[in-house]
Symmetry: C2
Subunit: 305 residues, 2 copies
């Protein structure tokens, strides 16, 4: 008998308060989360792989101008957009990632090409773009990615040296019993010097292994990199006897101990999920086979629409 699938998505966790997001904005954001779940469900209901479902779900979030990935990504110090994305298959530990790419409409698709069509795991910058071009991956002009909101944040950040971060991601347990995880981001506003965060780093911002769980993280990337957070949580489950929920909580505590904050989504081979954050909210969604979609953005973690 095939397993029932579980798909979890997130779209970042910074600054999500009712003061900043009114009822209309809330509905607008939740609608995109539902659209992302629907794209993942379409793959899974058709008998497709979780690996393709997380990719489809993330693609919708990349296309949405409201989240910091693909269209709507934050601006770098130099006023351009540089994106990172990754994808991992828990069945065979196949992985693909790109970092510092510009002009690729859906960076997660580039990560999927690295996973499926190359012997490599991580490609960066113009080399990664040339690789994606070889496979005819859709390109977009700089204007496509740039939204007026992000431009404003960029101009403000230049003055205040503030940092805005955000990521989108998805994890899935599919009907074949396999785990998968994906992540995509524009990084942090005003980032300099080719800064890369945790999102394209296998083990830090993303990890999937059928032996433990699938994890996708969001938050202050440097802290997740230093903890190798996604792999750490998987290892606590695999070697430390932690439940998924306890591993996720311990993982975020580890980040907090370094002075960082963020959130994560995770799923294991029993379809159990962890949806956790140490911020005030997180854009999140959950789709289980045979159940109604659930979405939310404000805290606490357990609350759903």
């Amino acid at each position: 008998m095939a397993a029932k699938y579980t798909l979890v998505i997130h779209a970042g966790c910074e600054g999500i308060t009712r003061k900043y997001y009114g009822p209309e904005a809330e509905q607008e954001h939740l609608a995109f989360l539902r659209k992302s779940l629907a794209a993942g469900r379409a793959v899974l209901d058709g008998g497709g792989r979780g690996l393709d479902a997380v990719c489809a779900a993330v693609e919708v979030l990349e296309d949405c101008p409201l989240f910091n990935a693909g269209r709507g990504s934050v601006f770098t110090h130099d006023g351009i957009i540089e994106m990172d994305a990754s994808l991992m298959s828990g069945a065979d530990l196949a992985a693909g990632a790109v970092a510092g790419v510009t002009g690729i409409k859906n960076p997660v698709r580039a990560a999927a090409l690295v996973l499926e069509k190359s012997s490599h795991v991580l490609l960066i910058g113009q080399g990664a773009e040339r690789f994606a071009e070889n496979f005819g991956l859709e390109k977009s002009d700089p204007e496509y990615f740039q939204t007026s909101r992000r431009r404003k944040e960029y101009l403000t950040a230049q003055k205040q040296a503030g940092e805005q971060f955000g990521t989108v991601g998805a994890v899935c347990f599919d009907r074949a019993g396999n785990l998968a995880a994906a992540s995509s981001t524009g990084g942090i506003t005003g980032k300099q010097y080719g800064r890369v965060g945790d999102s394209p780093v296998i083990g830090a911002g993303v990890y999937a292994d059928n032996a433990s769980c699938a994890v996708s993280c969001t938050g202050e990337g440097e802290f997740f990199l230093r903890r190798v957070a996604a792999k750490r949580i998987a290892a606590m489950v695999e070697f430390g006897g932690f439940s998924l929920e306890a591993g996720a909580a311990a993982g975020l505590d580890n980040i907090k101990a370094l002075g960082g904050k963020g959130g994560l989504i995770a799923v294991d081979k029993a379809g159990r999920t962890a949806i956790s954050f140490t911020t005030r909210g997180m854009f999140r969604g959950l789709a289980r086979q045979g159940e109604t979609d659930r979405v939310a953005m404000f805290g606490p973690p357990g609350s759903w629409h």
Copy 2:
């Protein structure tokens, strides 16, 4: 009472057979390993940090034209040299890494600057180079890095599509009781599309955490990336009750199960070491406070000069 220090170095593990390296070549390579240990010892004997000792030891290996890091790095598909390096401090999990840099004489020093002078962990490409330049880090012309041996391998690789890999690295337990790890590489001969391996990826090719151990890996980078190998070994020690030796062996078994091979060095807070490889040899060295330096390049792992 201060602890006694332990420093372990490696300089790659591919193709190290007596057929390829005669007695003269052996002495030449072992001399550079001794020079690297001496540089690390100079820091440690002066009461310096393990973090600075691994950096000094790796710098010597980068300057040596015989190993695949800094001078003597392998050529990319486009006939240039792109290098990666990383550094991590086990006391506070501070980390720094650079990927895809050209023209920086000692990439491990650039990683050290990222660790010490930036709020970031990973910088890539020209951005990383600009960052290093801001701190006046020494640059070198393309000709400095290119050796005739690597050019020959490159020209051969272009025809045979063969891949040559190699890395240098160091791990240390210092007199203050802290762990540190470093890694540096030119990657694989003929690499394309901005390919980055495990060496600059915290958790994959390098990891240091006083709670477990310090690890530096070498081998087929993609397999180490997919296993998040260094962090996996640290997690087996921290959460799984593995001894350092058993964790290192299990880590390399995990790589083998994916079809890959390689080696690693590790040290823990008791000064215990693991020096393991699934190849026929590995350039390696061990310096313990109050003991004579040991170096070796052929197998089996336990043999020393």
